[in-house]
């Protein structure tokens, strides 16, 4: 008799173990983290409604809903469904779970739905945004925002951050920026824009050659090389108070790369007579020399745990990419295909390095997995594609491309899909560098 009891309990626990995982991972059912761009999630974002007790005009409602749609579309995870196919009355679109007929959405193929209510009063806005799972008929996120009208973009981005966090477990790229070089003024100057190419601001204005912008891990400092004094020196600028440090040793001072989570950077200095990578404090003091081999060592990029750097060296005769462990000082070669592999950039996820490979006179972007060491080509037959830079969450890559003729900044997903231009300025744009997420708190 006891035997039967124990047997039944064991069976119950056994069955439970099968069901538990299903309950816990309900949140991350939507996007397969290992292959997020394989299938885009169909999402519907109808035009926002005016919140009760306010009479917000149609253009304002459309502008806000379009901005939300574009911001989410930027991630590459979604397929935005055409509003023309929606079955609801656009002027009477319900906002909350109780009033929504989810069949209207399921039947047109939407798996996710976002409803928005907006109220504009004088110069302040109030916005309610809700994310629904249409198949389950369930609200996943509900947020309310209030503030000056000028903060609409920021509110939208905050909500998108919540959406991506719910779907993937990380906050996405909505708080990040991209630094890049543009020649529109007649010289190579550094510019900064938001992750989606908006809010472009000129960062340097010294009428000299400026190159290699690099963001500190807290996104508060930028280091770059400038010919302000007639030779390539490294400038370290604080974005808020403009505090400035100059690294101007004899020879070249180039390719700064900030270490993760600390106020230090690696850079190539040639004052010793040999072009080597050094570790420096954020105030420009040399801590130690990182490379030792005779030859050119440059373009360091840090692993996200700060323990390794990948870099370019021609110690084997032509430029190739190597990985060095900072503590053990062990060096191993990463690239073996082709004669010219440069501009490595380590993904913030730690698992991949993007770089550019020059083959038959043309540069293309490749990605190599750290574990299996297989290089995968991401750009083809589209001019010169160089200077890859991973987004702050490792989901996208910014790079420069001459496929249109003049060099422009392009974005693609980590798998090489959805290649599109980020922005347009006069002159040519090159060398994008994606910042870490900027902390507003």
């Amino acid at each position: 008799m006891r035997k039967y009891l124990i047997k039944t309990i064991c069976m119950a626990i056994f069955l439970a173990l099968f069901i538990m995982p299903g309950l816990c991972h309900a949140d991350y059912d939507y996007i397969d983290i290992n292959n997020p761009f394989l299938r885009k999630i169909p999402i519907a974002i109808p035009v926002f409604s005016s919140l009760p007790d306010s009479k917000t005009e149609k253009p304002a409602l459309k502008k806000a809903s379009d901005l939300l749609s574009e911001t989410l579309a930027f991630t590459g995870y979604f397929r935005m469904l055409d509003r023309g196919a929606f079955l609801i009355d656009p002027d009477n679109s319900p906002l909350i779970t109780a009033k929504i007929n989810f069949n209207n959405w399921v039947s047109i193929g939407a798996e996710l739905l976002i409803t928005g209510g907006l109220s504009e009063k004088e110069n302040t806005i109030e916005m309610e945004l809700r994310l629904f799972d249409t198949f389950k008929g369930k609200r996943l996120i509900g947020k309310k925002y209030e503030g000056p009208a000028g903060d609409l973009q920021q509110m939208i981005r905050r909500f998108c951050s919540e959406v991506i966090y719910h779907l993937t477990g990380n906050r996405g790229i909505f708080n990040s920026k991209i630094a890049f070089i543009s020649t529109g003024s007649g010289n190579k100057e550094i510019y900064i824009c938001d992750f989606d190419g908006s809010n472009i601001k000129q960062f340097t204005q010294n009428n000299r050659i400026n190159l290699f912008p690099a963001w500190s891990s807290d996104a508060k400092w930028i280091a770059y090389t400038s010919y302000l004094n007639g030779k390539p020196d490294i400038y370290i600028i604080n974005l808020k108070d403009k505090h400035r440090t100059i690294i101007s040793n004899k020879g070249i001072n180039i390719t700064p790369a900030w270490a993760p989570a600390r106020f230090e950077l690696a850079a190539t200095l040639s004052f010793s007579g040999d072009q080597e990578i050094y570790l420096l404090t954020g105030t420009g003091k040399i801590i130690k020399r990182l490379t030792r081999k005779w030859g050119s060592d440059l373009s360091p990029t840090w692993s996200p745990d700060g323990k390794k750097i990948a870099f370019v060296s021609n110690r084997a005769g032509s430029p190739q990419i190597y990985i060095k462990d900072i503590d053990s000082e062990q060096v191993e070669r990463l690239t073996f295909n082709g004669q010219y592999n440069t501009q490595p950039n380590w993904s913030p996820r730690g698992d991949k390095i993007a770089y550019s490979a020059l083959q038959e006179g043309i540069n293309n972007i490749f990605v190599v997995d750290i574990k299996n060491r297989q290089p995968i080509q991401l750009t083809f037959d589209s001019g010169n594609n160089e200077a890859p830079s991973w987004s702050s969450d490792g989901s996208l890559i910014a790079f420069s491309s001459t496929r249109e003729g003049p060099s422009r900044i392009y974005i693609m997903t980590a798998s090489g899909t959805d290649q599109r231009r980020l922005l347009f300025l006069h002159g040519e744009q090159t060398n994008p560098k994606w910042s870490p997420n900027v902390n507003n708190e």
Partner: protein, 184 residues
């Protein structure tokens, strides 16, 4: 036996009951957007003076000796040293050119010069900046080996940033892979 079966079923229900009380309910949170101040950001503007003396034409009132001096200086400024792709070694023609430059520098012992290293547009900016320095240093070392004081020669690399020919063909590229001397 029946009693045990019932107990087993009750246990089963209890266990499932516990499992289903785990919920992932979302709570509605009120969020107020913060105001961010945006400022235009500029690096401090500085003007570095660069008075590089260019090749000069002779004037009508120059003596023959003056013309000869000017011609020799013009040759020094305009004869560049050329390199193969991804190389900073000096071929025999480059060595001849540098030998002439060394002669001129010996004859003009008070002059200091700057050697610029340049690359063609292929490859990437970072590596070309490093290569440009190697080219400039290569030329400098040759001059120093011929007896010119090292302090008289400074070097600067411009990588691919200052081409003389912006064409996208081998002819243009060959012109850009150079070391160039100037009198600062």
């Amino acid at each position: 036996m029946r009693k045990n079966l019932w107990i087993g079923l009750v246990m089963l229900f209890l266990i499932f009951g516990f499992l289903f009380t785990v919920s992932c309910a979302q709570q509605e949170v009120k969020d107020t957007a913060e105001k961010t101040a945006t400022e235009p950001e500029k690096a401090p503007e500085e003007k570095a003076t660069e008075a590089t003396k260019e090749v000069e034409q002779p004037t009508a009132d120059m003596s023959e000796e003056e013309r000869a001096i000017l011609a020799a200086r013009n040759i020094f400024l305009s004869e560049d040293i050329y390199f193969e792709f991804d190389k900073f070694t000096l071929d025999s023609m480059s060595q001849d050119v540098l030998t002439r430059k060394a002669d001129w520098m010996r004859a003009n012992a008070d002059v200091v010069v700057s050697v610029e290293g340049h690359c063609d547009e292929r490859g990437t900016n970072e590596y070309n900046l490093a290569l440009g320095e190697k080219r400039a240093e290569s030329a400098k070392t040759f001059l120093v080996d011929l007896g010119i004081d090292a302090y008289r020669i400074s070097t600067v690399s411009y990588g691919e940033e200052r081409p003389v020919d912006t064409g996208h063909n081998e002819e243009a590229w060959a012109k850009n892979r150079r070391a160039h001397c100037l009198i600062p």
